[in-house]
């Protein structure tokens, strides 16, 4: 099975959408932690625009992901998506000012190497 150019473009789209989605959720949770009034779990999710934005990105990713899976074996497509394990910590560091010690960079490099290895069997 070969990966078509369309599918190769859909995979980075999924990665970006997931990164944005996770960023929205984490930022929403951080904001909730600052709130002295506890609104409860369901209310928190339903009333925060950031969660809706996160859910929107998640929905975009879901549709694109099903299209990807129509053309690609799960054991190939899913490991390719592990690039998000680099993009999410990076985004957390850049946009949420999270600490990113060298140990976590090393982990990200190992994960990226694993991704490259798995991806090399897909074409």
């Amino acid at each position: 099975m070969t990966l078509s150019p369309e599918i190769l473009l859909l995979i980075p789209f999924c990665i970006i959408a997931e990164t944005l989605s996770v960023l929205c959720f984490k930022h929403g949770v951080n904001e909730d932690e600052k709130n002295p009034v506890d609104v409860g779990f369901i209310t928190m999710v339903l009333t925060r625009p950031l969660f809706w934005l996160g859910i929107f990105f998640w929905g975009m990713e879901l549709v694109a992901w099903v299209v990807v899976l129509e053309h690609t074996p799960l054991s190939i497509a899913f490991p390719l998506m592990s690039l998000v394990y680099c993009s999410v910590p990076l985004a957390g560091n850049l946009f949420l000012h999270e600490k990113l010690p060298p140990r976590q960079w090393l982990g990200a490099v190992l994960i990226a190497a694993g991704v490259a290895l798995v991806g090399s069997t897909g074409a």
Partner: protein, 135 residues
């Protein structure tokens, strides 16, 4: 906090069993959805067939459960640490693909997944003072 006890309950180590399990179940459901719409080109009939499949609803349920688990995890950990830990799902999904969808596992893929797991091990499962707080 009303969400406090819920969060506390879910934030224990067994989250790292539940999350990959539901993640894998979700991927299986999506793969089954994809097999339902395989013959359709992407369009209205694609959506109608996908929405009519029980598998897509199974996937939505898994996503909802995963979402609650994930928010509970994020309350306690930074993104940069918590997110990579979810990669533990790879081993489970690869095994599931092989067992249920009869997809072959190549040596390269197996080594790749082992590297990914090594990366997760380096990042660490234990919450640390340096990365446990986001600020």
């Amino acid at each position: 906090m009303a969400t406090g006890s819920f969060t506390k309950f879910l934030s224990k180590w067994f989250l790292w069993i539940l999350l990959p399990l539901f993640n894998t179940l979700n991927q299986v459901a999506l793969k089954l959805t994809a097999s339902v719409v395989e013959s359709d080109s992407f369009g209205l009939s694609w959506f109608v067939h996908a929405a009519g499949s029980p598998y897509i609803w199974m996937s939505f349920c898994c996503e909802a459960i995963n979402f609650a688990l994930w928010l509970a995890i994020m309350k306690r950990h930074s993104l940069s640490q918590a997110f990579p830990l979810t990669a533990i799902s790879y081993a489970l999904i690869m095994t599931t693909s092989w067992v249920f969808f009869h997809e072959p596992i190549l040596l390269k893929e197996l080594l790749g997944v082992m590297l990914i797991i090594a990366g997760i091990a380096v990042i660490g499962f234990e919450p640390t003072a340096e990365s446990g707080k986001s600020r």
